[in-house]
Symmetry: C2
């Protein structure tokens, strides 16, 4: 097939007529498919079904440190869980706090603490004028929503192939004392699946923030979420790099088992420097009586150690990989030569990031919705939900079955073609 851009108006109109017909037929099927959310599928959740057998009425309820996990006590997690989460993050257990069921809530809490009480003795952000947060975009909407809720100014940092535009990050962070934080998903980023290069990580660790209370929110959500056994991205350990630059207080790192065991019923963790951990614990002792230690123990006994987690992640990969590949094949078959879109081929994570022609994303999402295929709202991956180019669409292949996913992807491709043709015709 000729690329759309090479076609004459007449050729394009002819193609569009055929596509419209196909769309009408597809819409008539009454599809009800959802590619919008990075949710594990039932089959993935079934993988840890037997975790629910690990603790029962006969189980030993005493943790390594002698504590009855059914009672009050311990703020930073039982040692068994701390060890595993620390091993996942490749830091010392002393630098880890195991928290509740949502790492997002820890991120929120640390922003909220900084806002209300300040970071390590600095003035609370609520007393400072014009706090700014850097938002590499496309990125994770829930990150941006936290900083927007607090009324911070969100500054879009373009994502490049190896991570955020570090020239821009350095310019802002090293010169503007009102820049207090940056959101990152350093491995298999949401939505592009980009893993930050060694150089990018080193440049993060070498930042010289104008603000003493600047923090990097290093959301390592997909740290062990590879799709392939033989092709894996690797990410430098940010804390190792920060040690070299003497910048150990610069980073809060997060992860969870939401996409390892049960989504929303896993355990989460924050890792930070000694000084940061001490400060977090001090406030945490007032914020809560501690986190659910029974769930921590269930996780720890189930996996035994980090190797157990790694082995388990291969099972997730084997369920996710075919879905990613099905979508990518359909994109490739349907769009490869048309010169109207690009998309990412991630080696891990939960998303494919799709770039349409400028000004087409919203229309594509709407057109899919009208035919029964739900996508993440266009713009959701940008601060204030506003994609300046109206071109990015986040594709989440995990939740539907492979067959549903294929059907949804085909409909999506159809909508991309129609909307792109309409766009090109506008200017002819």
């Amino acid at each position: 097939m000729k690329s759309f851009k090479q076609m004459t108006k007449e050729e394009l109109l002819e193609v569009k007529e055929q596509l419209d017909k196909e769309y009408s037929e597809a819409a008539a099927k009454g599809l009800k498919l959802d590619m919008s959310r990075g949710k594990p599928s039932s089959k993935q959740l079934d993988l840890t079904r037997d975790m629910l057998d690990v603790l029962n009425s006969e189980s030993d309820m005493i943790s390594e440190n002698g504590l009855d996990i059914r009672n009050y006590g311990v703020l930073d997690g039982i040692p068994e869980a701390k060890k595993i989460m620390a091993d996942i993050l490749q830091v010392s257990p002393d630098n880890v706090i195991v928290c509740g069921n949502a790492s997002l809530n820890i991120m929120y809490t640390l922003v909220s603490n900084a806002y209300s009480f300040g970071v390590l003795g600095n003035e609370p952000w609520c007393k400072q004028e014009n706090v700014k947060f850097l938002c590499p975009a496309p990125g994770y909407d829930r990150h941006f929503a936290i900083s927007e809720l607090f009324g911070f100014e969100l500054i879009t940092i373009p994502m490049k192939e190896d991570g955020p535009d570090m020239d821009l990050v350095e310019k802002y962070v090293n010169n503007d004392p009102s820049v207090k934080g940056i959101w990152t998903v350093p491995k298999y980023s949401n939505p592009q699946g980009v893993t930050y290069s060694d150089e990018v990580v080193k440049r993060f660790a070498a930042l010289k923030p104008a603000a003493k209370d600047f923090r990097i929110f290093w959301d390592n959500a997909y740290i062990i979420h590879d799709l392939y056994d033989d092709k894996k991205d690797t990410l430098l350990n940010i804390f190792d790099e920060c040690k070299k630059t003497g910048n150990e207080n610069l980073v809060y790192e997060f992860c969870s088992t939401s996409k390892v065991t049960f989504a929303g019923a896993g355990i989460s963790a924050v890792a930070a420097s000694d000084e940061n951990i001490a400060a977090i614990k001090k406030v945490m002792g007032i914020q809560t009586i501690g986190f659910d230690k029974i769930n921590q123990m269930m996780h720890a006994r189930y996996f035994k150690n980090v190797e157990g987690v790694y082995e388990h992640m291969k099972k997730h990969a084997s369920l996710l990989r075919p879905k990613f590949e099905a979508v990518l094949n359909i994109f490739n078959d349907g769009l490869k030569d048309l010169d109207i879109a690009t998309w990412t081929n991630p080696l891990g994570g939960y998303f494919i990031s799709f770039e349409s022609m400028t000004g087409c994303a919203k229309a594509i999402v709407d057109k899919c919705a009208k035919a029964g295929v739900k996508l993440t709202g266009a713009g959701a991956t940008f601060p204030y939900k506003k994609d300046p180019n109206d071109s990015n669409i986040r594709i989440a292949p995990s939740f539907p079955t492979e067959e549903e996913m294929s059907e949804a992807a085909k409909l999506f491709v159809l909508c991309v073609k129609i909307v792109s043709a309409e766009k090109l015709l506008e200017n002819m």
Copy 2:
């Protein structure tokens, strides 16, 4: 025995000599007992051991509303859990959000939300000068700690036999717009075991706050924690009273199963008006991806309904009652006629509140500690941990065994006598 206050100096010296001898003997035993924390005992925790059998790899994982409890989704709790928590609080499920493992964390979050974002469109507390919180005292130290952390001014409200001094509460709340909240434990209060009278509840509901963003933090922690089957305090439903006065937005109510199932691994709930619930959810949707629905389901299937919870609480009562009675008998036997102390005889909750002579509490706590019996720090039950009379001591009989508890109580009585005698001798 003569009352200490009727004794001559010589008589008192003679008594003290004997007491000192007894103390030396007791101290030599090397006791290691803890009456400091309102923790359930192992036997109480054993009561719900079989709750861990409720969910296993064979279990249905779909909630009433069709949701897979292992996946993301639902912010305010699964319907099964909402129903039970609503029935405990005697409100509609629509007015309940089931949260995570610690009701303290919901309280913190609502204070934090008010501080950062304001209450129902009012100016955030962080932008207001000199925020004040009323603290009925003796009260719960963790409540006071939250408001202290935010830098609010804590105002002590004396507790009376039927609740806080409402004349004072009304004076502050109805006249001072910088008074933004009051902490309450309306049933079997911590530490006195006081249940607010109907009149007190009605006066709370009839408050006409000078501040539009004033809220009552109604921590109904011991709402179903009766010690006796035939003698129970009853508390008016604050929301029913608020409906009558048209003040439905005035109250946030809290409860949890921390002292029903597992301490720190239960589920919690907040109840509030439609308008308050909507506002809480709006922020909550950014604060977290939702709470642990597997734990919610485990609780719901275990108890089936609120009657199941009530039946279960009788088992707790039968374990707690003998401990309370043992302590009270020892206090009675040892101190009744001496006119140096008073104490409460609660019908529920987790504590006995002890009033020594003015200026003796700290010395008693220290003397107990030296002989191996740990008590809650003197002053802990007051704002800023400062008891103006240095007279209140919180006794927590739940955690030790009955035998340990008796031994600890005897040592405590001995210390009370010695410190009181010393105090009286000082002024002779």
